[in-house]
Symmetry: D2
Subunit: 343 residues, 4 copies
């Protein structure tokens, strides 16, 4: 088949770089445009990002010499990935969608708009249909959630399906890369931890209810989040306590997590066979050791045990840059393609 | 007055060093014996600890040349501070108490024994009377709690008194010094975080119920804890959500915390005027910036805000080596002295 | 005596904060003006720096409510400390000096100007006289060197005096605070080290030659520097190898270092009794443990041993924010006062 | 061809794990025995190392169930890799060699023995012939150097060959993994740097002279080393200044480094096409970004520039676990095989 032509908006930032790295080797998509702010526009991609390249490996050779363009909806592409910063992202993504581009966005601006699917394919693939209500013809916007939300939703999805989630406490220990680059000053975090990430708790407490609701109503459970920044590079830890409508056995709970495979058979290149891996060691997951599992798309879960207040508690690790950002957007696009939205 | 003669058991470890530093300048107590395991016994204190001194400042000159003794109950002291490791501590502390010494212990062994006061003077000073049931004449054992428990209890005590605590979720981010020395290998924690501290969650979930109960019954509320190790040096963060019997206003809650001063008037040298400080900045407390408040005896609280599931949530920082260990034992001894137990 | 009225330029940055902290408790000087860029001018000092206060302890209460002014030479002060960034500093400091202020600068702009004393009082107190050649009446500029230079010069000064320095290799491991705030992004340095600090090596290779020369000629020896950034908070390590004109014994070398006390008898408040401390332990100095020695004004030296190429090698630690910046400027002002330049 | 049967001594440590990971996928060698100390002997390999596995990826499935054996010379293998700790290694390796095994050792014990080749194939492949003087028939010992030495020798080898090395200053910033596991306590290194690694400087100052000498005489130049431990995980930085017999142009020097390829044509699987990579960016190499180059076998060099005392200075990064340990031993074995020593 001919590869689908794609553009990346915000291609020079830390998430945009990850998108570039993932898409440069993607079997279905081919990058034809790298777009960024006025500072970078006109430079070759390698010139623009050389001093701030933070993705693993080298700048993809196939993109290195591509001249960066401004974020204008005149690219010859069908599909657009947006790694723009929230705030700037909103109007630019809307402009692309109006012009008929299918936009897979990592930004926060449109996430809670009623007609924008806030999509985690393993959890709410059916929400993709919402995009039709945007009434933009071939255009449309699909959003992936906040990086911590992505991990939380994947951990809760099989539990909600099987046992009904009622209440959730979650405490996060979030990696530095979640704040972008330059992001957190080293003087603030070396030998330290910070119990505050602006805006993050509200996202974690609300986005999952949209994702895990039906297409028109929020899910009917409550989440309380406390967020912390720690000096890990990549991978957010989420320590979760959950109250369920029906209390399974510990084995039943672990089985629901580890057998969760709702995308099986779809053949989406970025989807791991099992999105959740339950680690048997007592001190896992850990950012340094588990963030790479499933090329960053697998959420690692550990320490599943009964809770004294709710039913069970456990810890999950989500790769914030892949499953929580760039990989999430790519998986959303793969689902859209498979469902016929990109023809 | 003549100073009270004291001994330190386990004087060479990280908590024992802090005890030595605190007691070397104490207005009521004078250190006459430094006891440790067979490896150190017979060495001068400075020889024994030089390569592993981790307390601030230098080895106290008044103690540097003291020859370390074995942990035998033949010291000419009235009061004994124990920084022994749990396991080893139990029988040694019992032997000292049997011989008539008053033992203030930081170890876990006797904490949950019914007749041993598990003491946080601001929270349960009356429990000190339990020591009489040990029926050891002038001897006895008083324990301070686990380092995280110490912070949790101080934060909850004024809330329980004023509003009644019903349920508590707490997630901890604990500093490296909590694991002793050599403790956590650097390869495990640089650029990482570990969601597991063996035995810690159980202590945090049970010790506060003894402290905040009356002298014979556990308090009737529930605690759920999730513990994490992070690459901070000193100071444990506790992010707490609390359900109360009576819901105060936010101002009422903050006022109960910041005005808490139950030891006022007792003149205990190690007690800060106010054991809790509510920090106004949105990103505090932080280990690096707040662990030293009140010479390590003040718990810093921040981010007090309503919770979506329970009533309120907030973050507390406790200096694990001072308020959570060495300073706690010293404060217990000061209370015991003031109440006439050391004559 | 009446205290001398002083102003701080660049009072909101990381060095300006240190100056504020040091000067708020200074026995000779009293801060009457805090000056900074347009963003901060008009704000109260505590409002301007609250979110970025990085000096130990709290914002000095005596300065917290002072309204920050622009950096204009209309302050009612005799003495001006400049913590401005190099580049901006040059013309502003010149304007103050023209108006008759005595300026003690931490910035790089005027350091190598022939008539500006580049002053380390223990090394070249006589250079202070150069200020008269500026022919500005009561005004003038005195500079302290780069933070690493300060440590290097202090270590070399007694050796040059006693044995004659011929050649010096120095490798530095520099702390994060040397880059200011926000400074080094955490993603660049957690779990990493960077062998490059722009412009630093050239300063270390040239500034000492001016300081250790006479008032008109550079010293006649050669320095080669290699600089690295590491994830320590405060305190630059310098590993130094030195070739001397006359080779002393190891004992002679250590004695020259540890007995060095050229300011004895001057009664300068910020000068430690001995500016160099030779640490006996084999693994010292270390930033975390030795940066506070002598309130940050003492350079700690360790590992003095023979070298296979030059004569000796050793490691020095200089507190980059105190001895290498704020404290250096204050000590220069104290010397100027003692020598009658501030009347 | 049939794969050569190999054993690993010290298979459970941090270098032994790397050997296991490298050899599990090696095209010429097949691991038939994993040997370790008495604590591990009798356990399955995965049981023995699970809690301390620190190599990238998972425990090799092909080795996970292998039962660990004691380090006795009764394995059915031709080739033995030793990752034993220095001290223990000496007699064990000698016993294996006596019994006819060909031993490739990472330990320090035999490195400086006259008849033991201290081998870096790119630098002194001809030294391999020394093994014949051991007169052990099919048995023999070949050693690879200290991890920092490995990087230094690779950087110096092309310069020595082309221009003649006369004098070398080197300052190292060494990663945590160089100290093994558990190794450096986190309390000693988080937010810190340590200017001391016992025994290291002496190795760096002497081993290269054996490697770069002829088979019977040490090379006739001088090295001075200063070593530091920093909080990086993997990859030692070496900042090097070098005096040469003939001074090339900067371009000539860079060309000598980047074109160095003495093993070309030998087809050794672990040898990179070019063992040295000269990085063009001004702030490279860095442990976090460059340790993986060439699967850990390529030394990255940066900041090549003239020096004020010697001729040139530059910084090199060597992966201490691969090029400096496990990979070095494997490359030595490959050379031995190619040269016919393993038939």
């Amino acid at each position: 088949m001919d590869k689908i032509r794609v553009a990346i908006l915000g291609a020079t930032g830390i998430v945009g770089q990850r998108l570039a790295a993932l898409l440069a080797v993607h079997p279905w998509f081919t990058v034809v445009a790298l777009c960024a702010s006025a500072e970078s526009a006109g430079l070759r991609y390698d010139e623009a990002v050389r001093a701030r390249w933070r993705a693993p490996g080298e700048i993809p050779p196939s993109l290195a010499k591509t001249v960066v363009r401004p974020c204008l909806p005149d690219v010859e592409a069908r599909l657009v990935f947006s790694a723009l910063e929230s705030g700037a992202a909103g109007p630019i993504e809307a402009a692309f969608a109006q012009e008929g581009y299918f936009v897979c966005s990592n930004a926060g601006d449109h996430r809670m708009s009623p007609n924008v699917p806030l999509l985690v394919p393993e959890a709410n693939a059916d929400h993709l249909a919402l995009v039709q209500r945007q009434a933009l013809g071939s255009g449309g916007i699909v959003a992936n959630p906040n990086c911590s939300t992505a991990g939380l939703v994947l951990a809760l999805a099989p539990l909600h399906r099987s046992f009904g989630v009622r209440q959730v406490f979650v405490a996060t220990l979030q990696a530095l890369s979640g704040a972008g680059y330059p992001g957190v000053p080293s003087l603030d975090i070396v030998g330290n931890a910070i119990p505050h990430i602006p805006g993050e708790e509200d996202k974690i407490e609300t986005e999952p209810l949209k994702i895990m609701g039906d297409q028109t109503h929020l899910a009917d459970f409550r989440i309380s989040a406390q967020c912390h920044r720690v000096a890990a590079a990549e991978g957010h830890l989420l320590s979760i306590a959950v109250e369920l409508a029906q209390r399974p056995t510990l084995e039943g709970l672990v089985s629901a997590l580890s057998s969760f495979a709702p995308l099986r058979g779809l053949g989406l290149p970025t989807a791991p066979a099992f999105p959740l891996f339950v680690h048997p060691e007592p001190d896992r997951p850990q950012p340094l050791r588990d963030a790479g599992r499933g090329a960053g798309m697998t959420v690692t879960i550990g320490r599943v045990r009964p809770d004294r207040i709710f039913d069970y508690k456990f810890t999950a690790l989500v790769n914030n840059l892949v499953r929580g950002a760039a990989g999430a957007a790519v998986l959303n696009a793969e689902l859209a393609f498979r469902r016929g939205y990109l023809h």
